[in-house]
Symmetry: C2
Subunit: 465 residues, 2 copies
């Protein structure tokens, strides 16, 4: 007999069906036992008189054959989508038993110790809220894909085993067995690869890309890895890129979060100076009511400074990243201006902000190798350093590089902000904890000495001070 | 003026357009210069009399405004989609110059030294064949997504920073800064996570998943990383999973490779014993004509042995992986049979084969913790080892695990086989070379001592013998 999904039982009155799923609750009424049985698509009440039904506990996996019957009017359960029917069990088979879960699964779960929730993440994900978050995330990502594919963007996978990149954060390193003493790095973003794809002539690229940063976690940043929508276009204006993304997010909200309301369309555009002056931050929360969970206040912040002064290191650093183009009017100043006044230079950069969170940043890129070298020089890289770290990019720019630019909105962070979840971990299936431990599996962990030998590395007996 | 894509110029006869792209070739005819200009969507002939046109070389990036004119009948170029028109240039702007590429870009490129092609991959990808491969790959992947999403499968991202898993290959390790002396591993596949998602009740999961194996490369295996379609279902039969995938690949071929012909639908199903006896291999090439590039001979190979004997290690090893269920009829033998005869046990496993390549493998999984422990024991794991490495999975199976199974077809390998490309690297944007060096960027590379200090590791002066 073919399985009927529980949500479909409502249309099968008078038919015998086979349902499979988890027992949510059991209620004993003498010889009659009521089981609420759940699968991914619904919950239905099963009425059983079989002796076995009395032994079944919550979260057991069962297979039940039974007759779908209409409930009498006065027994209809308005809280269940299948509340007008119930299944009269003819046979019940237990597929798997369950111990009592270490925490209740029918609550929001936010009051439960998070380490415990992560250890038993496979149970935590049975919560309606967590399941919903995974399903919504999937919908957002697929909406993004369909939108960009319809506009002829091509999704391209770029390498995870790659070279250290200078995007401001600490790299994760991977020792190379085939070249002992050498290391791959996990990408902080596919920044250079997407620029190389522009040199390749792909013109419109995107990727739902995994990014890695070995940075101490913050509320709006997960430890270790995160996911971003990585987009790059050739021959764009800043306005074209912003409009592409703005329309995408308007459509996402309309389709995936129909209960949410966007404060203002088109999204307000603020200059950095204006944002700082008016709101004291470059990621202002423009909601009329900061407590309104259904209000989504998107905005753009533009005209960022190109450089910021690092007092400790006594040098200029890139405010965004070193590939960001200065505004066309400001370029001459890089060669002729007083270095002390480089803080006045503006970048062709745009940040995407939602309810006080920076949910994405982008820029028009530098494509003139001479200008790119000048920027590296100002950031304090020696000529040798520039050659070692960026020689390949400067080389690529010698072979017909188109003007290009892009943006990289964070997926986790947008969904967290849109759902008003307290941390990114609520919208990630298996996040690492703040201390860097993986969910469910006990990593990082020690490895055999033979593995380290093969990699040509050893562990220092003490961590250096 | 808004940009016109070159493919659209054919519909703009009599209009002045702005096109942007790369100069493919320049032909000088005295005062008249012909430029073939290329963007991602097409190539068009531009007729120029401007002095600047004579200076432009191949692969320069230009912006041209001009009048689209119908060509006289006798000058129509039947080899160009835009061959009935040409653009009379009014103004030409050079956006970027180009040095002469290190190899020709208008050939197949297979005769050029591969290291050189990978070093200049951004140029290599300008070849029509390589661009086409990236576009086809994108189409295959999006077709897979649409097919599975329509059947209510949910795409879930699983971690890249995770724990070492025992899938038979060598793990890449990532030193953990927050726990010096400890390591993450990159996943050989999301095998355990997808099983945990079944425990979570997701029922239908998929992911276009990046997988990592530090194994010496082969023709049909790229070094380092590869991509697989990772699928898992709850409450399935082997036939359901095979049929799901079989229909998917029939549709992919129909939509993405309409010139290819599938030899037999439904795909032939051979037992392992039959395949070995008839063809001497468990991945037979069933094409009628092995040289026919348009014939796709898919088949299934089933009833694999559960174990294979490792003579060197004097122990049984899992033929697929240790989570593969034995055939129901064979389970008792695991407890009562003679260990010397364990080679007779059959697995509930199915391999997916195309033109002599194994393009995927799957199985029904073990969900009985007792049986799973027994398998680990037979494979030679000590009780302590089982607890350390698999305790989390055995624990998860105590909380209502549904019967489940899945499959993981390789993306790179399928596209390579379908396109009859000689290596996987022809269908990957930025592959690593056989020696483990990354394309374009010079990795793996040395890192600062301070970085190693932070990770609590050091490099051995000599590689141990």
């Amino acid at each position: 007999m073919e399985r009927t999904l529980i949500a479909d039982t409502i249309e099968k009155v008078g038919e015998t069906v086979l349902v499979k799923g988890w027992v949510q609750t059991r209620r004993d009424h003498g010889k009659i036992v009521f089981l609420d049985v759940r699968d991914r698509w619904g919950i239905v009440q099963v009425v059983a008189t079989d002796e076995i039904a009395g032994k079944i506990n919550s979260e057991w996996v069962v297979e039940i054959t039974g007759l779908v019957k209409k409930r009498p009017e006065n027994l209809v359960n308005p809280n269940l989508a299948t509340g007008t029917v119930e299944i009269e069990a003819k046979s019940i088979k237990v597929l798997a038993e369950s111990e009592t879960p270490p925490f209740p699964l029918d609550t929001e779960g936010l009051d439960i110790d998070e380490e415990l929730r992560l250890k038993y993440r496979y149970l935590d994900l049975r919560r309606p809220r967590m399941k919903q978050n995974l399903l919504l995330r999937n919908k957002v990502v697929q909406k993004i894909r369909n939108y960009l594919l319809a506009k002829d963007f091509v999704e391209v996978e770029t390498p995870i085993l790659t070279k250290a990149t200078p995007e401001g954060a600490r790299d994760f390193l991977v020792p190379a067995r085939l070249q002992p003493g050498n290391f791959y790095a996990l990408p902080q973003s596919p920044q250079q690869y997407k620029q190389l794809l522009m040199v390749a002539g792909l013109e419109r690229y995107f990727q739902i890309a995994r990014c890695f940063r070995d940075e101490d976690p913050r509320a709006d940043r997960a430890y270790g890895e995160f996911t971003q929508l990585d987009v790059e276009m050739s021959f764009p204006t800043q306005e074209e890129i912003r409009s592409l993304i703005e329309n995408l997010y308007v459509e996402i909200v309309k389709e995936v979060f129909p209960d949410k309301r966007i404060s203002k369309i088109p999204f307000p555009v603020l200059s950095y100076a204006e944002a700082i002056e008016k709101y004291g931050t470059d990621k202002p929360d423009l909601r009329a009511d900061k407590k309104d969970k259904n209000e989504l206040a998107f905005c753009w912040v533009i005209d960022f400074p190109l450089f910021e002064w690092k007092e400790q290191e006594k040098r200029w650093d890139a405010m965004h990243h070193p590939f960001t183009a200065p505004k066309a009017d400001d370029i001459d100043f890089l060669y002729l201006g007083n270095p002390k006044e480089f803080g006045k230079l503006r970048a062709d950069q745009y940040d995407f902000v939602l309810n006080g969170f920076e949910i994405g940043g982008g820029s028009i890129r530098i494509t003139d190798p001479k200008l790119q070298s000048r920027i590296f020089e100002i950031l304090g890289h020696s000529p040798k350093d520039i050659q070692t770290k960026f020689g390949h990019l400067l080389q690529a720019f010698k072979y017909g590089v188109p003007p290009h630019g892009g943006i990289a909105p964070g997926i986790d962070r947008f969904i967290m902000a849109a759902l008003s979840e307290p941390t990114l971990r609520e919208v990630i299936a298996f996040p690492t904890s703040a201390s860097g431990r993986t969910a469910v599996m006990d990593a990082p962990s020690i490895v055999d000495k033979s593995q380290l030998d093969e990699l040509g590395i050893s562990i220092k007996s003490k961590r250096p001070s």
